[in-house]
Symmetry: C2
Subunit: 421 residues, 2 copies
């Protein structure tokens, strides 16, 4: 099954926006074991849209045309697709009523072009748009399957997942499909992690489990995949692979699943312990606490904390002794310890996490950008401090700060896991 993704949009070919839809759709197709070896992008020009479709017909059975379904004169995709295939347009009466009613409610004048949003490919099916006005279309015609989708990602994604995928699964799905699990790692270099995983799979004779890695901000995602297997058998092998991998590098894995973040996992553990957390942040400037707050329900485990950028503010708000800073400097284990303990005590929290270091671009106290100390103070336990060396050729100020926050979350996650043992 060969597919081609055609993206239509002047703003894409002009370089004004990044084409995120193609990645999203390609990822969905891969999960259905559909190969999309070609992606083509052109602007809202009827001749070029038709040329792209004709080209795709020579090398793909399943053809996606994405973008250009809006109400303006520019939007030519549905009509051009119909012309390229040689079918007519059909009007979705129900949608057309809805569009007209919406204009009445919004007290907005409708232009004659608005009817375009209710057109689809005659003989095919309508793809409903859960978050917008324009219909999509799905048509089987002379050995090809054509799918027309809207451009704005906030309309594109819901239409793909809610309206399109059920149809694709019905037409192209089979029991022997592709199965995969997503593992989330942090704290090991990608090359080392993947070497270890390859060895583990080799030793466990799980040769048909394919491991691919994908570095994202704050984590390394490892996808374990099995092709052409029956579900029960695939799940059994994936479970065996995970177990073997956990034995070797489980410490660095913070979750399994599609949409998992380390901050969520930390908040989840805190809620299980019924513990509260606070922070004292220097170079990260509030980013750690903001990341905790990004998790819905964070208010159950977080009451507040401190941003202490200047040395004097570390003394004033956290009670870090001036003598500690004078003797060891602000970028030191001793200061990180005093900060973590200071914030934990001031707010009577169960866990206090501190960050002090050099974000750069300049050195600080003779230490290079990327030198960071993280402290974790837990009520009734000795305070832990750890040093990060994040100075790299490519390390920017923002990268050093983000990386510090992620490592702080990882150390917190480890500390919270130990509690349960």
């Amino acid at each position: 099954m060969e597919a081609e993704i055609i993206s239509i949009g002047t703003e894409i070919v002009l370089g004004q926006i990044v084409n995120t839809n193609a990645r999203f759709l390609a990822d969905q197709l891969r999960r259905l074991d559909i190969d999309a070896h070609w992606q083509t992008t052109t602007d809202d020009d009827p001749t070029r849209i038709q040329a792209a479709i004709s080209q795709a017909q020579t090398r793909a059975q399943l053809i996606f045309v994405c973008g250009g379904l809006g109400p303006t004169l520019d939007d030519q995709t549905m009509a051009s697709t119909a012309a390229a295939i040689g079918v007519e347009l059909a009007l979705d009466d129900e949608q057309w009523q809805k569009i007209q009613a919406d204009f009445v409610i919004r007290k907005t004048k409708m232009t004659p072009e608005n009817i375009k949003m209710a057109y689809y490919l005659k003989g095919g099916q309508i793809l409903a748009n859960p978050t917008g006005m324009a219909d999509g279309a799905y048509l089987n015609h002379q050995g090809h399957t054509y799918v027309v989708l809207p451009g704005p990602p906030r309309e594109f994604k819901p239409m793909v997942t809610q309206s399109l995928l059920p149809l694709l699964k019905q037409q192209f799905g089979n029991d022997k499909a592709i199965f995969s699990h997503n593992l989330h790692f942090l704290g090991l270099p990608e090359s080392q992690l993947m070497d270890e995983i390859e060895q583990v799979l080799d030793e466990a004779k799980l040769d048909d489990v394919l491991a691919t890695s994908y570095v994202q901000p704050g984590e390394i995602q490892v996808r374990l995949t099995i092709h052409d297997a029956m579900q029960a058998q695939a799940e059994k092998k994936l479970a065996a692979a995970e177990q073997a991998i956990f034995k070797r590098v489980g410490r660095y894995c913070f979750g399994i699943g599609e949409h998992i973040t380390l901050a969520e996992q930390v908040v989840k553990l805190l809620r299980e312990h019924q513990w509260t957390i606070t922070g004292a942040e220097s170079l990260t400037g509030g980013m750690f606490q903001s990341t905790i707050c990004s998790v819905p329900g964070a208010s159950k485990v977080f009451n507040g904390g401190f941003v202490t950028y200047a040395a004097q503010t570390k003394e004033q708000l956290l009670g870090v002794p001036k003598a500690v800073i004078d003797q060891y400097g602000v970028v030191s284990a001793q200061t990180a310890k005093a900060m973590a303990e200071g914030c934990q005590k001031k707010l009577n929290a169960d866990v206090g996490v501190s960050f002090t270091g050099v974000a750069g671009p300049d050195d600080l106290e003779g230490q290079p950008a990327g030198t960071v100390w993280i402290g974790i103070a837990i009520k009734g336990q000795p305070t832990q401090t750890s040093q990060l060396h994040l100075s790299q050729k490519m390390a920017t100020r923002q990268w050093i700060r983000q990386r510090s926050v992620q490592m702080g979350l990882l150390f917190t996650y480890w500390a919270l896991q130990n509690k349960t043992n």
Copy 2:
């Protein structure tokens, strides 16, 4: 001048990564008035790479082939490009020495494939790689110009700007080129802003100034462009356009230039005033202060501040009177005012900015997600408070928090500008 951008990468067609290189290159080409109406993407397969290049030859004079220059067996781009054009590969001796020396230094075993990184297209020029090992190539051959570039964005972008653009300007540039200015706006809906700008340009009879908008997180970028003009004349017209636009909507413009952020502008004004700023953040959880800290040199204007998520922490750390919270609620002008004044006084800063509101998903105190109060306390001035209504169909928790921070920065920017008047 027609161009086509061909991207090569299995990880792109599998949907593992977003193709940001194509956008970057298209944007650079647009500035040179080079039209790239086609973008094609395929995987690291020699047959498909050659097919893509043959296809491009039929519709473009300038052909870019991006990605697949690494040392692994997968990387087939340079050889496939040479085959598609019908030229041989040439070895860059100097680069090959460098690669070998690097392996000695890194004490790493070299594989036979490593020599590939020193190949270029015979008869053409080498494109130096300022941040990586693989050479790029530039070749004029039988009416076409071929450019081969590496895939990793951190190698791609420096090679484009440092090695490629000078050659493109030399071969395809002319005096009558494209000139543009970037204006950064916040605080007006995009449609209203663009309507106003269109009217202004119309009234000022600046019909050849084209205004296009691009919504990014935290701002609306408006690009004013003039095509086919001489530089002096274009700059004069762009200046006139800017002046007319400022008269109408200047309040919402926070900067002109390529890489400008509102946080930078705020830090710049604070440094000019020799003022310090602090924050007291509830729903934003530290994001405002972290954004201030993202600007290099922030330590000149920022000593620290507070994250006060729980009502009780607002009282404890900021001295917000319990009676204010009991009477008006935490999501109120009165609480925002007390928070802003509290943090400003506690740290003896010149400016204190507070955020309190409902990030969602749940309501709070009967107020819907998206209800936010921002307070700005400036030493010796009456404290200002403003309410935001960010409840929208598409508003996520994270969007409401980010938007609150950006609007807080805008209000701060306005307050700092008034000081100078």
